[in-house]
Symmetry: C2
Subunit: 389 residues, 2 copies
């Protein structure tokens, strides 16, 4: 029996997840077809992707970029959308069966919600969407697997480990963290860290925002929040382990004492492919994980007290409402400020803490409340940055 071809749109196609998604499409042309592509401003790469995959629709980050993209394309008949509304309309496009949402940051929330509301399968790599609007997204999804599959390697691992288990069997989830490039570094020297140093992740090659988030451990904090919503589990049962070797992505402790773990080489094509092939698996023909070559797998409990970014994540979950959105947005702005050398590395997490502390009302997380929190957070965060300079 010939398998049906799944039609996918890749929102964020020029980033690391997007590029790897398209490598999988190339590997499985009889299973996948690209019907939509969206990118921010990397027009040369987007144009090459359009020529190769011939989607029916394309979106760019800004309407002003449309002419420049057109001039790079042979086909003049392409439907080109733009800006946040372009992403939303691509996410709901009736041509697509599955949306791979791989933009970074708060941009992801609206297209994620749109895709779920339109009944699409959503392969979600954008963690900020879940952090900001976890309850909204989970309400719009018809259950994990049916309409929402995480791409984040830790969450893909947990999603796989949890398959067929009922929640009553689960004691704890463990997310692993490499610990980032500064794990063993003297904390007093962190104020001199440059963006270049922060971007050199020891295990994964990733985009800029997530690399900085990994260095501050805010990435793991966001993942704790993500896990809380995805798997509907109390925050107290989500633990973080520092695991410098980066081969065990997540673990699951069951009520009889058994612990299940998900391992693999650090290659995002594995979780991306799973989000596309689920419930099947495809032969990716990547190098196998060589267990004998691992020189000793270690795990260190990452106590929230020791890692301020984790502490903030748990306290955002504790506060609930729009607090996770404020955390995520303040962090996004703080990372940009660090990358443009406006604040020092340790200031990123300090800034988030400061802004969260100033967020007093904390209404429940409706789309309107999140939008209001976003405006407030941008203004507040910028004001603090200005004051600190």
């Amino acid at each position: 029996m010939k398998p049906r071809i799944k039609k996918i749109s890749v929102i964020g196609s020029t980033g690391s997840i997007g590029v790897n998604t398209l490598r999988i499409v190339e590997k499985f042309p009889d299973r996948l077809k690209v019907v939509g592509l969206a990118a921010g401003r990397n027009l040369p790469l987007l144009a090459r992707q359009v020529e190769k995959f011939r989607p029916a629709r394309v979106a760019v980050g800004d309407p002003l970029l449309i002419p420049a993209l057109k001039s790079r394309l042979k086909s003049k008949k392409l439907d080109i959308l733009s800006g946040p509304p372009g992403l939303v309309s691509l996410a709901r496009d009736q041509e697509a069966d599955e949306i791979v949402l791989a933009v970074s940051g708060s941009t992801g929330l609206h297209p994620a919600l749109a895709a779920l509301q339109a009944g699409k399968q959503l392969a979600l790599a954008n963690k900020e969407a879940l952090v900001m609007g976890g309850e909204l997204l989970m309400k719009a999804a018809c259950g994990l697997g049916n309409s929402l599959i995480p791409i984040d390697s830790e969450h893909s691992a947990l999603f796989q480990l949890l398959e067929g288990k009922n929640s009553e069997e689960i004691v704890r989830l463990f997310l692993t963290a490499s610990g980032g490039p500064f794990l063993t570094r003297d904390p007093r020297s962190l104020s001199r860290v440059t963006p270049e140093e922060a971007l050199s992740h020891p295990v994964w090659k990733m985009g800029e925002k997530i690399s900085v988030d990994s260095a501050t451990l805010m990435n793991k904090g966001l993942e704790v929040i993500e896990a809380r919503y995805l798997f509907q589990i109390e925050p107290g049962r989500i633990k973080v382990l520092i695991h410098p070797q980066g081969r065990v992505h997540a673990l699951l402790e069951l009520k009889d004492g058994a612990v299940l773990a998900h391992l693999g080489i650090p290659d995002m094509r594995i979780p991306i492919a799973y989000a596309l092939s689920y419930p099947d698996r495809w032969p990716l023909r990547l190098p196998a994980l060589s267990l004998p070559e691992l020189k000793g797998l270690t795990f260190l409990e990452a106590r929230p007290q020791r890692f301020p970014a984790l502490r903030l994540a748990y306290s955002a979950l504790d506060a609930a409402g729009t607090m996770p959105a404020v955390l995520s947005l303040a962090n996004e702005i703080a990372v940009e400020a660090f990358l443009s050398r406006r604040i020092s590395f340790p200031r990123i997490v300090e800034l988030v803490a400061w802004v969260m502390d100033a967020w007093k009302e904390n209404p429940a997380a409706s789309l309107e409340a999140i939008a209001a929190a976003e405006i407030w957070t941008r203004r507040k965060t910028e004001a603090v940055i200005q004051r600190w300079r």
Copy 2:
């Protein structure tokens, strides 16, 4: 809803698995009831177990032991069976829902087959039954889980990891081995190993036969054969890894490169309880596996070329027919000969190799052929031992 009480019989109740099974029964008196007990010759313990669990039927290893057991019991009305026919009749006893088969060695084959043929759930700790009569048992079983659940920790781990997977997803199975007490010892010194040294396993506290089998690595060889029949997978896709820390019991490599692992503290109550609670899990309240306390998990490929017992196991699978039975029986006799100081430690595996090499006909494994192979193997093995002395 009150759960139905499962009625179990424990065949081999005074050994390590039997005793741990009864500890679980004590922990879950509203889930489990003992209706049958069988032991070889440890009458004091068997009598205490009978007084405590009040089974309807009991079996001892030899009819001559019946009066001695009776004299230890208050209740005089107990139905006492004996010898191999006693085990078989206990295995088929219509009172029991599930049989925990925890005798050691070739004694297990007939009761295992009887339990499956009588439509019982069989929780199988006796690996020799599967090694000797793998095809017969799998034919009698209505599929793994439905009527046969392994208790061996590695196979319980694999059984759990394989749940919900289809065979087409599986690339390889990995069984881990502690490597036994002599892994790092100079091979030339092994001829001076005493039974006491061979019985001191670095990770697990177990019976004598399995402890010696662990020291020779024949235990892992038997487990490779067991896995081949249980999971119906080609021998070439079953690998052994030396994992001295003994916390990862087995791993499963899937076709997309993901590797799933099953970890836990080394406590046989976990796999025993799973065989009783399946498909549920019960809260055993054992100490949790502390990942941070593990000082580095390592894995070393155990090449059959380096470990003669493994090489013999793979070649027995290659020969198929009654060869695995000959391997298992020759090993059983060789281990007894070592424990009674009739042969030296390295001679155990040499003896098995020698006997396997002399087994030329190798008919298909019917019960009759296995019985004939057993007679031949006993005679042959004894003859070689005599010659070597």
